[in-house]
């Protein structure tokens, strides 16, 4: 799968950017409610599967609560609920991706983590103008059926 990505990327980039030499960037892809999302790997702190979430009262429902990560208190967001979908029930594959965005730590609760891919940023297209999709700053198609949505980490914090 990964190789497939890379090959495709290479081909595309060669076709599109013959002159401009561009270094590929690493992205972590994960699944949430059947969609594939990608986040800049530089923002990813760690992935944890063993956690116990403490519920915080009187906050929007997409905030699952807080966890204790080696003495650090980190808020957890359910990506599904943040995108106004049904909340995620914990499964075998579900896990928390801890993101460090502008020195703020935040955890996102996702269905499953897929893998790390190299992507040329120039291949990412902007969202269609009228899209009501939140938190996404761009998209890229992998194959006919599959599309990667790029998550905007800064927006996630707001």
């Amino acid at each position: 799968m990964t190789e497939e990505f890379n090959e495709m990327d290479m081909e595309r980039s060669q076709a599109l950017n013959v002159e401009i030499k561009e270094e590929p960037k690493k992205f972590l892809t994960f699944l949430s409610d059947g969609l594939t999302f990608a986040i800049d790997a530089t923002n990813v702190g760690e992935i944890i599967t063993n956690y116990s979430i403490t519920i915080v009262p009187n906050v929007p429902s997409f905030i699952k609560g807080i966890i204790n990560l080696r003495g650090q208190i980190i808020p957890i967001i359910d990506i599904r609920e943040r995108m106004h979908k049904m909340p995620l029930e914990g499964t075998d594959t579900s896990c928390i991706i801890v993101l460090d965005i502008d020195s703020t730590s935040i955890g996102i609760f996702v269905d499953a983590v897929s893998h790390v891919v190299d992507i040329y940023e120039s291949n990412i297209s902007a969202m269609p103008p009228n899209s009501s999709q939140e938190l996404v700053k761009g998209m890229m198609s992998l194959s006919k059926e599959q599309v990667i949505l790029f998550l905007d980490c800064e927006l996630l914090l707001q």
Partner: protein, 702 residues
Amino acid sequence: MDNGMENMLDMYLFETNSLLEQLDEVLLDAESADTFTTDSVNEIFRIMHTIKGSSAMMEFSSLMTIAHRIEDLFFFIRENTIDSIDEEHKKELFNLMFFSTDMLRAEVEKLENNEPLTSNVDSFVEKVNSFLNKISNKTDETETAKKEGENDQKSENCSTELPQDGSGAFLKVTFDEGCGMENLRAFMLVTSIKDIYENLTFYPSDVETNPDTAAVIIEKGFLLGFDTKQTLETALNIVQSSGNVQSYEILMPPQAEQEDNVPAAKENEPVAQNHIDATPAPKVQAPTPNIQPSAPNTNVTHVGANKQSLISVNLSKLDKLMMLMGELVITESMVTSSPELQGLKLDNFTKSARQLRKLTDDLQDTVMSIRMIPVAGAFQKMNRIVRDMSKSLNKNVRLTIIGEDTEVDKTIVDSIGDPIMHMVRNSMDHGIEETVEERIRAGKNPQGEIILSAEHTGSEVIITIQDDGKGADPVKILEKARRNGILTKPESEYSQKEILALLMAPGFSTNEQVTEYSGRGVGMDVVKKNIEKIAGTVTITSELGKGMCTTMKIPLTMAIVDGMEVSVGKSIFTIPISDIKQSFKITPEEIIYDAQGQEIVKRMDNFYPIIRVHRLYNIDTEITNLEDGILVWVGEGDKSYCLFVDELMGEQQVVVKPLPSYLSTYNIKKSGIAGCTILGDGNISIILDIATLHHNTSDYAY
């Protein structure tokens, strides 16, 4: 080396700042007495002397020049006594002094912020010089001449005052080779010895002004003259502890040659040198045994009075200590309440655990107390503000300070400085009546009063700023609030309390015009924000025509609290023990319902509402019958109520951690959550804030 410089700078800043604070105090005292006493003149002289010396050492020329000019000025005043200056000039002198301390302070601030120092202080020097001229013209012309010839005269002094009675003694100090600035080092030495011994004479006598003397000192050493051998011995200690002193020799001129020694200081030296051989064991390295024991004793009584038991520590080290302390407390409860120990009968372990608990408690108290400093520092600064504003606003106001010895955490002292200043300025500017006539008409003392007080009450410190001015006019406040569009409901519905709270709303300022001191409309809400940052509250009370009082309540420590763990469903909450009055079970008969169906319980002849935590926070729990769970009676006065929880889990000391900043965008503070803490098993417990929780219950659907 770099590190060393940094340390030197830290020391310098610390020393200079404390000297400037001292100076301010002396000046304010002197001003209220309307004259300088001999003591205060000497004190100012000494402070300026030290600042000048150390600034020169650090090569901060602007600071040195300013301090030097003031020193000159006070040298003159000391020589001629303060009475030689008439009232007019005294006033000018006070203003000049306050101005110069401000200048010094500004320069020091620049150093602290790593900014370049002012390179040109000519205008200031000019000011002092012209003032000096003015006052010196008043006095005898010969005096002026004396002043001008200060240096020559000093060297004369040096020769004439030398041991005429034959009991004198000399000390010849040699500095480390190549240490540089020998003249200034010599001068520093003189300054520190003068602290304990006034009549010191020294040669070369113009070390502080003439850099060429450095060469003389290198060549011939630096000579210090004492009246008696005893004083010399006292000074030895200082010489020994000074940096860069390579060696010193004690020179004792025998009585017979006294007459011949008198003429000139320069001749002194060869004569003195002759006596080296005559004096037994003059070298430092082998001090005579009878000198040693007496020296430290006298030294301690002179210099040690306020220095010896204090050390200055970098605050970041204390913060680290505090943090470690917090971790220790967590770990201790992690160990002693480990789930693996449950159900085991471990007598010895329990005993040791108790011992450990006691020790950590003690340790914690000690660590906390290290960080406790009196609020005096923050309070004293207000003297100056009141003084300056009295002058510029032409109001007669006195500041009364109560409880300045109250000790609070260092971070609190740092964060209350600005809010207090804002409030004092507000009182000065808006509170106190514009004119004395206005005050007299209102039947008040013509002199306005601002009372600044601090006191402890159990777990918090209360700071009040009270003035006897005209107070806040609720009608005007409402009107202003309406104009600024910050009203949220019809005017008639606002209570007195709510109206006063409007004062602290962002963008509110009752003064029509922006003045130099206050009225930018940011003051009060900044006060509120700053106090809330350290978990405190601000309330304003006011009576029209009688004045206004601002009360700040700040928790003493924010880091560690004694908490009661309670469970609601699967969640665990911590209630600060200091907020709990009682916890009890209840029978269905005891529950009283009001018209809205609110559950009420009677306790000690009073009725209190029951707040179900599971309903308030929407938590699933099996215990919904009041008689199955437990009621915790919390709060004070009109903010007292009973919380209904599933179960009490036990008492624990917890370290308060703030909730992630991400959550604060959701106004989490308003829902009665003070923070969170990590329990022994690694789980998180949410700490309830009893006061705001009550506030929150007004929106609570019972």
